[in-house]
């Protein structure tokens, strides 16, 4: 069976060989690959016209589930800059970025790196720090005018933060029951308490004990609304809402924009403002 030896030998020759490739573009544009929507949006906002941003996660796909094909790997290898969120949020993207891409940038700001919850972008302050990291990386790639665009975006995020703070500081209730643990950063920033039905991964099933304790919690805190999200089946949240006799409302974790949101011209800021309105009416906040 000499063939077996041959297979093993050729395998050994192949491992450890291979060149590295570098990319450059004739037209001077900078090609950026971003792992999913909030990162891509930050790159578009601060990058301006000379930056071409590609969002790896297609519209309507839950980014945790993103399957990598050779197309995505090729794009990441060929890009001038790869932006991703580390910490196990999109393990396949993270693996490829760390292994095959020169200097990929993990856009998680230092303040959230030790947190279990990767959904930092739902806190505008942490998102603003992340935008700074994107701006620094783009400047290092020779993109012009980044600072001015970043300042304009920063101002918008600061205004958003101020409105969230003002509205959410005067509410009847402070507990938000959500379908998956995405809103912890947001809740902590504005003095709320998140009670997720399932864990950090949206597809996991809640255990029986958790269902019961959430139902009790809903009654105890006078919660009127259980929050669901668009990219995840609301089955469990619906069942719980039926059981507890409360309603459901969509709180968007901004892991991606749906096709209809894109058509309507929505972006990070407009969706966050809609989230604020949803929270305000569910929690009974005094809106002035």
């Amino acid at each position: 069976m000499r063939w077996a030896a041959a297979v093993v030998a050729s395998a050994i020759v192949l491992v450890g060989c291979g060149g590295s490739s570098s990319s450059s573009h004739a037209d001077g544009s900078v090609e950026v690959v971003a792992s999913f929507y909030p990162v891509a949006y930050a790159a578009r906002r601060v990058g301006g016209p000379s930056v071409r941003v590609r969002d790896l996660t297609p519209s309507g796909v839950e980014p945790h589930d993103l399957e990598i094909t050779t197309r995505e790997v090729d794009r990441m290898e060929d890009a001038d800059l790869v932006l991703y969120v580390g910490g196990g949020f999109q393990p396949a993207v993270e693996d490829v970025a760390k292994r095959w891409v020169d200097d990929p940038v993990d856009v998680r700001p230092a303040s959230v790196r030790t947190s279990d919850d990767p959904h930092f972008w739902l806190d505008p302050i942490a998102y603003r720090q992340s935008v700074d990291l994107v701006a620094t990386a783009l400047t290092a790639r020779g993109v012009d005018g980044v600072a001015a665009r970043r300042d304009a975006f920063d101002a918008q995020l600061t205004a958003l933060d101020r409105d969230l703070r003002t509205t959410l500081s005067g509410c009847d209730r402070t507990t938000i029951v959500t379908s998956h643990a995405a809103f912890d950063h947001l809740a902590r920033r504005y003095g709320l308490r998140e009670e997720p039905i399932t864990g950090l991964s949206p597809e996991s099933e809640p255990d029986a004990g958790r269902m019961a304790s959430i139902a009790d919690l809903v009654t105890r805190t006078g919660t009127t609304t259980i929050f669901t999200e668009e990219l995840v089946s609301p089955r469990v949240a619906d069942a719980l809402a039926r059981e507890a006799g409360v309603t459901t409302a969509v709180l968007n974790p901004l892991e991606g924009l749906s096709a209809s949101e894109r058509r309507a011209g929505d972006d990070y800021v407009s969706v966050m403002r809609r989230n604020l309105a949803t929270l305000a009416s569910a929690l009974g906040c005094q809106q002035s």
Binding site: W3, G19, T70, G88, D95, V96
Partner: protein, 287 residues
């Protein structure tokens, strides 16, 4: 040192995928031959389910999942062999036990692991594009173990497969040899886990064997053909996946299935009927 291969294997990641794919593609049918002859074609799938529980345990404990998967898979495979050979359960019942214990254990352990859920998907469906050099070495190492063990035990395994009773009468250590096959199957599943995932690895053990049985004229030639078809499935599957941006694990298995269909059609093609009757088909008569 730089190695230049033509498209679609011009990238580093594709070359590592090629190594992993070819090694697994060539090794899986080797063990598959024995399983198919023993009418345990689905054993690889059962072991895969147990390996999934092993992956979840590894992620939960923070250990490299490949080793916990290997431990779980070997224990599962040995357990099934023990249940089967002691007559405590028939082969398919023992398999069913393995399947459902494995997948249920995996679900419970994944639930405990919480935030790490997303990474288990990579093992369920494979992630050949993120194979690292050390993963490739692990797979090559497991492949060497599989090939070496098969070569060393070849005659004894062959005798066992052809007729277990005569082998027993002839003084062969039947039980240890059955355990060797079970352990080899477990090793193969774990090696193939990164390539096509635990849910599909059994396909690479069985489909090339099914195809090769239509072409091979002896156990030995059938084994060689099956191994070659497995390797070809990996290469062609990766090329298709690159060309059309398809999920590589699934594409490799679909190519193996297509080869099976092509070989079956070729076998019953009218022009070949006379030839087939003239030639001896030991593989067939063995079953």
């Amino acid at each position: 040192m730089s190695l230049t291969l033509p498209w679609p294997f011009d990238r580093d990641y594709m070359q590592l995928a090629l190594v992993a794919g070819v090694v697994v593609g060539a090794c899986a049918p080797l063990i598959g031959m024995f399983l198919v002859q023993k009418r345990l074609s689905l054993m690889g799938d059962g072991i895969g389910h147990v390996a999934f529980a092993g992956v979840a345990a590894g992620l939960l404990a923070g250990v490299a999942p490949v080793w916990t998967a290997l431990a779980f898979a070997v224990v599962g495979a040995v357990a099934i062999e023990w249940l089967r050979s002691r007559g405590r359960a028939t082969g398919d019942l023992a398999l069913a036990l393995l399947f459902y214990t494995g997948i249920a254990g995996g679900v419970v352990l994944t639930g405990l692991a919480g935030s790490l859920n997303a990474s288990t998907l990579q093992y369920l469906f494979g992630s050949i594009l993120t194979v690292s050099p050390s993963d490739a070495w692990t797979i090559v190492g497991l492949g060497v173990v599989i090939v070496a063990t098969t070569l060393v035990c070849w005659r004894a395994l062959l005798a066992l497969i052809l007729d277990e009773e005569s082998a027993r009468v002839g003084g062969l250590p039947v039980e240890p040899l059955n355990l060797v096959i079970a352990a080899l199957a477990a090793t193969t599943v774990v090696a193939g886990m990164r390539v096509v995932g635990v849910l599909l690895v059994a396909a690479l053990m069985v489909l090339p064997v099914g195809a090769a049985q239509r072409l091979g004229r002896s156990f030995r030639s059938t084994t060689l053909i099956a191994s070659a078809l497995g390797a070809v499935s990996a290469v062609v599957g990766l090329a298709f996946a690159r060309a059309w941006g398809l999920a590589p694990g699934g594409t490799i298995v679909l190519v193996a299935a297509a080869l099976f269909v092509v070989c079956s059609v070729w076998d019953v093609w009218p022009g070949r009927a006379g030839q087939r009757q003239a030639g001896q088909r030991p593989t067939r008569s063995m079953r």
